[in-house]
């Protein structure tokens, strides 16, 4: 006699908690082959608002944590993800229509990417910082600092590897994130939220909203308390023009990471490629401090 599954409820992840959407709405998530997977919360602009508040209040603690500490937390995320890899393999396979083998490769790459960024936390200031030889008796140092609250449009296609590849560099340097997941493939993101919740990452550092990207992204782009926005996930969304998001972001001069472009069209990047420092640099400010040298 077969046992009836206990199904999982997929909710949002805001401020370390898993609320349903404030709007009370949900939407059907189906697999790549069209089978029903779950009812996901359909996040609204008010969920974005709440998530930004959570991200802002988490910023001081997270950006003030030592880089060593952030590295350990990110590595811990990798560890917990590794422990739940079979669950992710199933979800990624279903969401992206991959074979178990291909999905496994994606999950493993996501874990490895987390570990890679975990190692960057306490090196990025050494690589991007500088002691500047000014022409005078002054100590002069330039150091990278997190930009602040970063809105992230996670890629529509790569539901876990792509997601990890955009979130990890944001938080590695001390930013906090409000993430809009892939609209059609949101389930691995919610499960990743559960990983975050159980791996020493303070609540509010990453906030995950499952939503129709075209509906909610403009609210994130125009939010005055968001300091930067990653438009990667604007690629391939019907009814969403990334240039309009960038224009909205200009109202408070957000830093904008544009989507990758191929032949004038926004496309999803190749997540298997070496990520380089581009995503780390994109959400850093350079602060330069002067002090006289004297006796």
């Amino acid at each position: 006699m077969s046992r009836l599954d206990v199904r999982k409820t997929y909710k949002l992840y805001i401020g370390g908690a898993f609320p349903r959407s404030e709007s009370g709405r949900s939407y059907e998530v189906v697999s790549a082959s069209g089978e029903f997977l779950a009812n996901a919360s359909m996040g609204s602009r008010k969920d974005v608002r709440d998530a930004v508040v959570a991200a802002r209040s988490a910023l001081r603690g997270w950006s003030g944590a030592t880089a060593y500490n952030r590295g350990q937390v990110l590595y811990r995320v990798g560890e917990v993800l590794e422990g739940r890899r079979s669950q992710f393999v199933d979800e990624v396979a279903a969401a992206e229509g991959l074979s178990a083998r291909a999905a496994t490769a994606h999950v493993e790459a996501a874990i490895d990417r987390l570990v890679w960024y975990a190692g960057w936390t306490d090196k990025v200031a050494q690589v991007l910082g500088n002691l500047n030889p000014v022409a005078g008796p002054f100590f002069n140092v330039s150091i990278p600092e997190p930009t602040g609250v970063v809105g992230v449009l996670a890629p529509q296609g790569s539901s876990l590897l792509g997601l990890v590849s955009v979130v990890a560099p944001v938080i590695a340097t001390g930013n906090t994130a409000v993430v809009l997941t892939s609209g059609d493939r949101p389930l691995p993101a919610v499960t990743l939220g559960e990983v975050f919740a159980t791996s020493d990452l303070p609540g509010g550092v990453v906030n995950i909203i499952t939503a129709r990207t075209a509906e909610v992204a403009p609210w994130l782009a125009s939010h005055r308390d968001v300091n930067a926005i990653d438009l990667t996930g604007a690629a391939g969304v019907d009814g969403l023009v990334w240039g309009e998001l960038e224009a909205a972001a200009a109202d408070n001069l957000k830093r904008v990471l544009r989507p990758a472009i191929a032949g004038n069209v926004a496309v999803e990047p190749d997540w298997s490629a070496d990520p380089g420092l581009g995503r780390l640099r994109a959400f850093l400010e350079t602060k330069t401090v002067w002090h006289p040298k004297g006796i």
Binding site: N132, A135, G136, N252, P259, P275, A282
Partner: protein, 493 residues
């Protein structure tokens, strides 16, 4: 009691020749002057020269010339050869320093001692510094070892303000050329002359035609330039309002931009500050260049227990400031750059007084003609007053108080701007704590308003994005992604 009166010590105007009218500098030559507008000396409102209002077709020509140079001779040069042109320019600026200093003072109204000791020497230093980078870009840490060599964007449109005309030109042109770009630069409407003299320097240096193009005009010219479809990158210094408009205009395009915009810097004085140097730092912070500085220390945050003492010392010091003829070597403050700017200062200061601030200026006789504003203190200012939140861009210091370091940081950061900040205390650990917590691109501790080509400059939040100067400043002028077809990362705007 004897008085040490300084007799007038005017710098000679004879070192510089100003033409009656100027054309545009496009493709290595000056065009015939047309559609002229006046540029005046703000110290006496007399006409200095007439310059050309560049129209859309002029912008087309300038951008096309820059494109030809980029695709042609300039693009083919090695970094070492490019660097040698920059070295040449730096040397010529030094040789003709006095000429530039006098011209800048005439056109801008700032005192000759500043153009002579700050604007022109640092402008030359920027060319020297960046000259050396031209053949070393693969060592700038912008790309991993063995990765792609950083490549120029192409044609760069640069729009600069009137407060440091030649210095801002050098901050823009030097890194652009060092990285292999070509340039179309528009100086501010009220201060075009030093840029036009710089065009002659380019000719003297034998710079290939089209590498640097200088077009004059008002905001319409600037808009046409930044919106030109064949421009690859924009570098703008100016108001936050225009900066936002530029950011909007390039949205959804492939154009890159760096923006260096407004500020409302806090200069924070603790009760254990080196008081005499702090007073100098406060004075330098807000009265340097008549306070027409984006990073000016326009909000003085004083620890409440020393407020009266600091204000008393500040007033005594302000009484020794000399306001007058910008060409006089002993003038500490010169003229405000334009009537429009003077009106803005007056409007905001009046608003401050209306809101309850106390206004004080030392006794000083201002010249009858020209645009003048005395050094001014506004005490009793609260964080909510307009003079504490809006950029005045004039010789006006708003004085506020705080009680604890945390309160100082909270007040300092309580602004949409984030360009600079100052901290005065003899306690080392407090300096480092403050520096960590201030949201500003430049933090001056126990000093203020220091600039150096090796030191990155630029803001947080609505003060703009991108850095100018240093290794970090190069980043804005190159692309580091491989030429391959499959992009791995989108571009940072």
């Amino acid at each position: 009691m004897p008085t040490f009166e300084y007799a007038p010590a005017p710098e000679s105007r004879a070192v510089v020749t100003i033409e009656k009218s100027y054309g545009l500098f496009i493709d290595g030559a000056f065009t015939r002057p047309k559609a002229l507008f006046d540029t005046i000396n703000p110290a006496d409102e007399r006409l200095l020269a007439q310059v050309t209002q560049a129209g859309p077709r002029d912008v087309d020509k300038a951008v096309a010339a820059a494109r030809r140079a980029f695709d042609g001779k300039w693009g083919a040069l090695t970094g070492a050869e490019r660097g040698k042109y920059l070295f040449r320019i730096a040397r010529i600026l030094q040789e003709r320093a006095r000429e530039f200093a006098v011209l800048e003072t005439l056109d801008n109204g700032k005192p000759i001692k500043e153009t002579r000791d700050v604007d022109i020497p640092i402008a030359a230093a920027h060319f020297f510094y960046h000259a050396g980078w031209a053949d070393k870009l693969e060592h700038a840490g912008l790309t991993p070892a063995g990765g792609p060599t950083p490549r120029p964007h192409g044609v760069v449109a640069q729009v600069i303000p009137w407060n440091f005309p030649l210095l801002m030109l050098s901050w823009k042109i030097a890194p652009a050329l060092a990285t292999g770009n070509t340039v179309v630069l528009k100086p501010a409407e009220t201060t075009p002359l030093s840029a036009l003299l710089f065009a002659q320097v380019c000719q003297q240096a034998g710079l290939p035609a089209g590498v640097v193009n200088i077009i004059t005009g008002d905001g319409r010219t600037g808009q046409a330039l930044v919106e030109h479809p064949d421009v690859d990158k924009i570098a703008f210094t100016g108001s936050t309002e225009v900066g936002k408009a530029i950011a909007r205009s390039i949205a959804g395009t492939a154009k890159k931009a760096t923006l260096e915009l407004g500020g409302k810097a806090a200069n924070i004085v603790f009760d254990d500050a080196p008081i005499d140097q702090a007073i100098e730092g406060i004075v330098n912070g807000i009265f340097f260049n008549q306070g027409q500085v984006c990073c000016a220390g326009s909000r003085l945050l004083v620890q409440e227990n020393v407020h009266d003492q600091v204000v008393a010392r500040l007033k005594r010091r302000l009484e020794t400031l000399r306001v007058g003829d910008p060409l006089d070597k002993n003038s500490d403050l010169g003229a405000i750059n334009s009537r429009a700017q003077l009106d803005r200062i007056n409007r905001l200061v009046d608003a401050g007084v209306d809101e309850g601030a106390q206004r004080w200026s030392p006794e000083c006789t201002l010249p009858a003609t020209g645009f003048w504003f005395p050094p001014t203190l506004l005490t009793g200012v609260a964080q909510t007053h307009r003079v504490a939140t809006e950029e005045i861009f004039g010789p006006v210091l708003s004085v506020l108080t705080f009680r604890t370091p945390a309160e100082a940081v909270a007040k300092a950061n309580n602004t949409p701007y984030g360009l600079s900040a100052g901290v005065w205390t003899e306690k080392g650990s407090r300096i480092l704590w403050m520096a960590d917590h201030l949201k500003a691109g430049v933090v001056w501790a126990n000093t203020f308003n220091r600039f150096d080509p090796t030191s990155p400059f630029g803001g947080y939040k609505e003060s703009g994005y991108g850095r100018e100067g240093g290794r970090h400043g190069l980043e804005a002028y190159v692309t580091t992604s491989p030429r391959s077809a499959s992009p791995t990362t989108g571009a940072t705007r």
